[in-house]
């Protein structure tokens, strides 16, 4: 049996052209309008309507995720356990040394009357939503403008920097992760103090760009990258990630550097929103 024909079954190239032009106009308007423009406002409206459903979806998926994580724990091998124990011993030693240095730092700051770089107010939040399509690097949290969260507010996890709020409604906010392809963070290498910019990518990896190779202090695997505080979006000193691979580029000025974030982004459930820091403008450039 064949589908019956009707008037609507005929094509209309003019209609298609009109819809295509409308799409292009929307794209253009989105780039030109400010945060209070009609498209940004409509996006906040959609987020406001859908965030309760994201909460329900998260609640439904949580038991399954927990069971999956429990089963994944069975795959830890003896060699992995030995490696983790060795790392634990090293970290205990490092923590003891750092505590000593922290106390010395507090005393010296008090003497010099230096302001504390990390003195920002913050608020805890639960992750209630994950990326809604394959091209997105974002999460949804259950704090919004009612809690002092604004577009541009930095978001961190216990292990380091996570991202920045891009859309905020009364009781929920969408956070663009640093692994998103449109994210960029001004950083410095902790050991050498060389500066650069960390970018995300479509596959969720981090790369370090525009960092000069210094013959005296070369970039090494394992080097820690911190936010530099330049650009004004993030406070200085937040851990962004560790250098995983350095490939010198014979034809270019800068090496190709791959990073790994310390934050388990796929499994993160709670975050800290740095409400006391100054929100930046989210129009292009490095955030």
């Amino acid at each position: 049996m064949k589908t019956p024909t009707a008037e609507t079954r005929k094509g209309s190239p003019v209609l298609l052209a009109v819809l295509v032009v409308m799409s292009l106009v929307m794209t253009s308007v989105y780039f030109r309008e400010g945060d209070g423009g009609p498209l940004h406002t409509a996006r906040r409206g959609v987020l406001f309507v859908t965030s309760p459903f994201a909460v329900v979806g998260n609640a439904v998926a949580m038991p399954f995720n927990s069971v999956g994580r429990w089963f994944s724990g069975f795959t830890v091998s003896r060699s992995e356990l030995d490696t983790l124990r060795a790392q634990n011993d090293q970290m205990r030693k490092a923590a003891a040394q750092q505590e000593e240095q922290r106390q010395e730092n507090v005393r010296l700051r008090a003497i010099l009357k230096l302001p504390d770089e990390f003195k920002t107010s913050s608020i805890g939040a639960r992750v209630i939503g994950r990326p809604t399509d394959s091209w997105e690097g974002s999460i949804l949290i259950d704090r919004g403008s009612a809690d002092g969260v604004k577009a541009g507010t930095p978001v961190v996890a216990a292990q380091g920097l996570l991202g920045q709020v891009v859309v905020s409604t009364t009781h929920s906010s969408e956070v663009r992760l640093i692994t998103d392809q449109s994210a960029g963070v001004a950083v410095l290498v902790q050991a050498t103090r060389a500066t650069g910019i960390v970018h995300g990518s479509v596959e969720g990896n981090l790369t370090l760009d525009y960092v000069a190779m210094d013959a005296k202090h070369p970039l090494k695997v394992g080097d820690v990258l911190l936010t530099s505080g330049m650009g004004g979006a993030y406070p200085k000193g937040l851990v962004v990630g560790d250098v995983r691979k350095v490939t010198p580029d014979a034809a270019g000025l800068f090496p190709h550097v791959e990073l790994s974030s310390r934050v388990p982004i796929g499994d993160i459930e709670e975050v800290l929103v740095l409400t006391g820091s100054q929100p930046s403008q989210l129009v292009g450039g490095v955030e």
């Binding site: 079954r9 094509g11 298609l16 998260n58 399954f64 399509d133 997105e136 859309v167 596959e203």
Partner: protein, 170 residues
């Protein structure tokens, strides 16, 4: 042309499922595109004009659910809805192979076009990486879901009461 209640309901349900359940069905970071399934199904059962309208509406909603630019998904899905709808005259109610093939081609076209649009707008990635990490896996995932969803969704969206029989997959 006036959209029927089943079409409006399907788009709204797709929006809520895309925001709530779809993110948790992600496999290696690839999230199923439920809007695409609704648009392709509607285009196949109703034709190019309803397909283009539904594609545009679904695209705007999908754009607004994310954090990136608003407009690219609307453009991609209205074209996909229109092109899929032109095959409407060749659709047989009993067939399943052609709709699934169309769903595969539509998904490939949609994901590829969206990636290219993002690249044009300066927020895309390298072509090969995009192809291997998102476009191909998402196409396979969406097609697998279309196998499960298409017969039931087409039955819901078809406004002609005589066209309700679907042969089971062989």
């Amino acid at each position: 042309m006036r959209p029927g209640w089943p079409t409006v309901a399907a788009l709204l349900v797709a929006m809520f499922l895309q925001a709530s359940i779809a993110p948790h069905l992600a496999v290696f970071g690839v999230v199923p595109n439920l809007f695409l399934l609704v648009v392709v199904t509607l285009a196949l059962v109703e034709g190019p004009v309803p397909g283009a309208f539904a594609g545009f509406t679904a695209g705007v909603l999908l754009d607004m659910l994310g954090t990136s630019v608003i407009g690219p998904w609307a453009l991609v899905l209205c074209v996909v809805g229109y092109v899929a709808g032109t095959l409407n005259a060749n659709m047989f109610a009993e067939g399943w192979l052609l709709p699934i093939t169309v769903a595969f081609m539509a998904s490939l076209l949609a994901e590829l076009s969206y990636g290219l649009l993002l690249a044009v707008l300066g927020v895309g990635g390298p072509f090969v990486v995009t192809l291997t990490h998102i476009v191909v896996p998402a196409t396979v995932y969406n097609t697998a879901l279309a196998v499960l969803v298409y017969p039931w969704l087409a039955r819901l969206l078809r406004q002609d009461p005589g066209m309700t029989e679907f042969r089971r997959m062989a």
